[in-house]
Structures are given as C-alpha cells and as structure tokens.
C-alpha cells in the first residue's frame, strides 16, 4: 500500500470571473519511508499540490490517499506534519513551547511528555535554546524548530514547502544535511517542494519534475544514490548526471533556445 497516492488530481481557481487551471491530471505515489521531491518553475502549482495533501486546499477532481486515508481523515487524526517556507513559529512561545504545540492541540497541556520534547530539541540540534523565543533565533534555527514541531506527533506524512528557500546557499546545504540526519531517525514518508535541483537530488529518493500552465508532471526521476547522502557526492558523476537530467526536463525546449543563442 502506497504511503501517498495522488490520483489524477486537477485544480481550477476562479479569479475575477476567469477560471485558471492550476493543476491538471497530476498523479504520483510514494512508498512508505520514501522521500519525494517536487521541483518546478513558479506557478506550476507545486505548493498547491502539497496543500491538497495536507487538506488545506481541496482538489477540483481526483483523489488523494495518505496512508490509506483521505487527507481530511489523516489531518484530523494528526498524521500529517507540515513545514512552511517561513518557520511560522508563534512569537510568544519559546522553542519548547512551540514544539509541543501540536501535542497541546491533540490532548491538552497535560498530554505533553517533557522528556520527549527535550529529545526532539536535541535531535534538531537546538540543545540549550529550549527557552529562547523565535526572535532570538536565526532563520536556520527557526526552521529546525519548525521541523521538530512537525515531527512531534510522529506523523506518517511529512510535508515540506521550500523549507530552506529563505536561507543563503551555505546555510541551505547545512540544513539539507541536518534534515537528512533528522529524517533518517524517523524515516517518515516525506514530500518536499523545492526550486533547487541540487537540493532535490541530494535529499530525495524520487524526484517529480513539474511544468507550469497548466501544472502537470513531466518527468519522474529515481535517485538511486546510496544513503546516508554526503556533501561530497555533489561532485560525483552519477549525481551530476541526475542533475543534468532533471535540468533538461525542467527547462524542456528552453535548452534548445539557449543553445542557439
């Protein structure tokens, strides 16, 4: 049974009386424990797709199943963890308090096990910052807190919407490796939206390349690189080949145009 099955999803929006097709006949699936990446140009609907899996937006047509359930059921059962592009931490709560927010929503303040929270704090590398508030943390640290928060309910599906998009390149690579380390501990099924091809190849088991207008999947690339992934793999031939293939799919006929120029 697939952990995530997206079956022929379409989405149209009504803007100012016109209907805009954001997604058309999108299908993909992920096996349990797989890490998937969605890359595509802006406007291809990848963030919308992610939000449909999380039951924040509903599809116009098609079906999504998350670990055998409809997204709504999965969401209400707290089986989904979501990491946003901006950390979306509550500014009046400390790091620990932010991390345990999902648990408070599930079962009230008494349902929170401080030891479990502390373990997560240490897992994401924020030991010593338990009582710091978001304004005292850097962008990378805030995202680590957000990741911990997404994992606190031991979700069956982890969704990430360009989590490191706001960070500079050096920080981004560091966070990628951190996320890989953290993810290796829980091995949740994960789907990440990114606009960086290298990030996708470094992190994922499968990459889904999308095109825009209308949003659709144009290629699916299986990344067979050995885990645990390392920064040193970036220069290696099989890594580069995968990046090239993804780039070709992403740019489509633009590549020919650029070659002629």
């Amino acid at each position: 049974m697939a952990a995530l099955a997206i079956d022929n999803i379409s989405k149209t929006f009504d803007i100012d009386g016109r209907s805009v097709t954001a997604l058309e006949a999108v299908s993909l699936d992920l096996a349990p424990g797989e890490f998937g990446a969605l890359i595509g140009p802006s406007g291809c609907g990848k963030s919308t797709l992610l939000r449909m899996v999380a039951d924040i937006v509903s599809p116009s047509a098609g079906r999504i199943t998350v670990a055998g359930e409809a997204p709504r059921k999965a969401r209400l059962a707290h089986h989904i963890g979501f990491v946003f592009q901006d950390a979306t931490l509550l500014p009046w709560r400390t790091v620990s308090e932010n991390i345990r927010l999902p648990l408070e929503v599930v079962g009230g303040r008494r349902a929170v096990d401080p030891a479990a929270i502390q373990a997560l704090v240490e897992l994401v590398g924020l030991a010593g910052f338990e009582h710091a508030r978001p304004s005292q943390l850097s962008g990378g640290m805030q995202q680590r807190c957000a990741i911990a928060r997404a994992l606190v309910t031991s979700p069956q599906m982890l969704l990430l919407d360009e989590p490191f998009g706001a960070l500079d390149e050096i920080m981004r690579f560091r966070m990628n490796l951190e996320l890989l380390r953290i993810w290796a501990e829980s091995r949740t099924t994960a789907l990440m939206v990114t606009h960086s091809i290298e990030e996708a190849v470094l992190m994922a088991d499968r990459i889904f390349v999308m095109a825009a207008r209308p949003g659709r999947i144009v290629d699916e690339i299986r990344v067979d690189l050995p885990r645990p992934r390392r920064l040193s793999q970036i220069g290696e031939p099989d890594f580069v080949a995968l990046v090239e293939r993804a780039r070709k799919s992403l740019f489509g006929d633009m590549v020919e145009m650029l070659q002629d120029a």
């Binding site: 939000r51 999380a54 924040i56 707290h78 979306t88 509550l90 927010l101 999902p102 408070e104 929503v105």
Partner: protein, 260 residues
C-alpha cells in the same frame, strides 16, 4: 556599571526636552508678568501657588471623577473583550458587532451624556455608564483587529494541526491580539477621564469637572488652569500606567507602537 549606563542614557533622552519645557515655562511667566499675554492666560507661578494651597480640597474633588473614569474604563474593557471574542468565534456576528459599534461611535458624546442622564438619572453610576460608552468602541476595534491578525501560514498551520475553533481562539488569536489590545488600551485610557469629565459637565454635584465648569463661568482663571493641569496629569498618568502594564506583560519584541 550597567545601571549607570541606563540612567545616563535615560537622562540624556529626558534632559533636553525637560530643559526646553522649563525654558518655555520661564518664558511664559516672564511674558505674563510683562503684561504681554491676555488675562485669560494664567501665570505658571499663580497656578502652582493655587495647587499648593488647595491641594487637599482638589484631590478630594477628584475622587468621584477618578472613580467614574476607572470603573467606566474597566466596564468598557470587559464588554469589549466579551463582544470581541463572540465576534471572533461566531463570524456571522462580526459584521453586525462592528457596524453597530461604528454607529455608536458616531454618536457624539454630548448626545450620549444627556441621554443617559435622562434615562438613568443624575448619579455616579450614570457617569460610569457614560465613560464606558465613550471607551467601548476603540477598545472593541483594537481587540477585534488583533484577533484577526495572523499570517496566512500560521492560519494554515492551525488547519493542519486540526485545531478546533476554540483552540484557535485560545492558542493563536488571543495571544496574538495582546499587542493590539494594549495599543487600544493606551489610546483609550485618556478617554476614560474625558468621559467622566463630560458626564460631570452635563450634570453633577461634585467632581473635578464641576470645579472646572464653575471656574470657567466664574472667570477664575488660575483655578481653571490648575484644574485643567490636574486633568492632564491624571490622564498622562493613566496612559503611563497602561504602558507599565504592557511592559510587565509583554516581552520587548512583541510590543507594537511607540513607547513614551
């Protein structure tokens, strides 16, 4: 070492304006003595002398005014919090609450005061009611604005967490509304004294407003300026008090708006 640094910086900030104020007052006094100012403008020295000599009596007169102001403000705050929360939890009510509030806010205080006196009679509780009506809408609007402020992604987060509306209210809206509420409370604090004064001007037996009005009609220039000064001092003190409350409740990075 740190304390003296703060003191020195505080002094550096306060000293220049304080000196300017002092200079302005001295200039005023000199102009008045030279006979340049109309008789209706009191001399600072005369005002201070009056305050010094009638200190006790004036404070006594202020008691009912302060009572009406304080209780009216608290009543308005309680009702604003209740209605604001209801408007948030039951979205259909929001439009109605805000429209009714906006209309009420357009009713001039000079109409509200006599109306309430006609209906409720001449008593201290009427003046509490007048103050409450005056303070209500700004508090409500600040609170409702604060409750509805949250980033789109934070709202989505709470959707993913499958939070109930009550949980959204308790964990997201309420804490997020505090900075805005305090902003509203700061702006409204001086209005409380105003409501009490207008209530007294419309009809009362005692209070600072009565003293003010008598001084105005009796052309007792020094007394009028003295009582107005007292009113100003009290309203500034109320504002400062709310600022202090905010400083104690909210950490620095969550406070909105300028500090005095």
């Amino acid at each position: 070492m740190r304390e003296t640094g703060i003191l020195r910086r505080g002094a550096a900030q306060l000293l220049p304006p304080a000196l300017v104020l002092l200079a302005a007052l001295l200039g005023w006094e000199a102009a008045a003595r030279a006979g340049w100012l109309p008789l209706t403008v009191a001399r600072p020295s005369a005002v201070l002398r009056l305050l010094g000599s009638e200190y006790g009596a004036l404070l006594g007169e202020m008691a009912p005014t302060l009572f009406a102001a304080a209780w009216g403000y608290l009543l308005a705050l309680a009702v604003a919090l209740a209605l604001g929360s209801a408007a948030y939890l039951y979205k259909s009510l929001e439009g109605t609450v805000l429209t009714v509030g906006a209309v009420f806010n357009s009713i001039p205080i000079i109409a509200i005061a006599p109306a309430l006196i006609i209906w409720l009679g001449l008593s201290l509780s009427t003046r509490v009611a007048i103050t409450a009506v005056v303070c209500f809408f700004p508090l409500l609007i600040a609170f409702v604005q604060g409750l509805n402020t949250s980033r789109a992604t934070t709202a989505e987060l709470f959707t993913v967490l499958a939070a109930t509306p009550l949980q959204r209210f308790r964990l997201l809206a309420l804490p997020g509304a505090l900075p805005y509420l305090f902003m509203g409370m700061k702006i409204t604090a001086p209005f409380a004294l105003l409501g009490a004064l207008v209530g007294e001007w419309t009809g009362a037996e005692s209070g600072l407003g009565v003293v003010m009005l008598n001084a105005m009609f009796g052309l007792q220039v020094d007394r009028l300026w003295a009582t107005v000064l007292l009113a100003c001092v009290v309203s500034t003190a109320a504002y400062a008090y709310v600022c202090l409350l905010e400083r104690l409740t909210l950490p620095a990075d969550l406070r909105e708006g300028e500090a005095v």
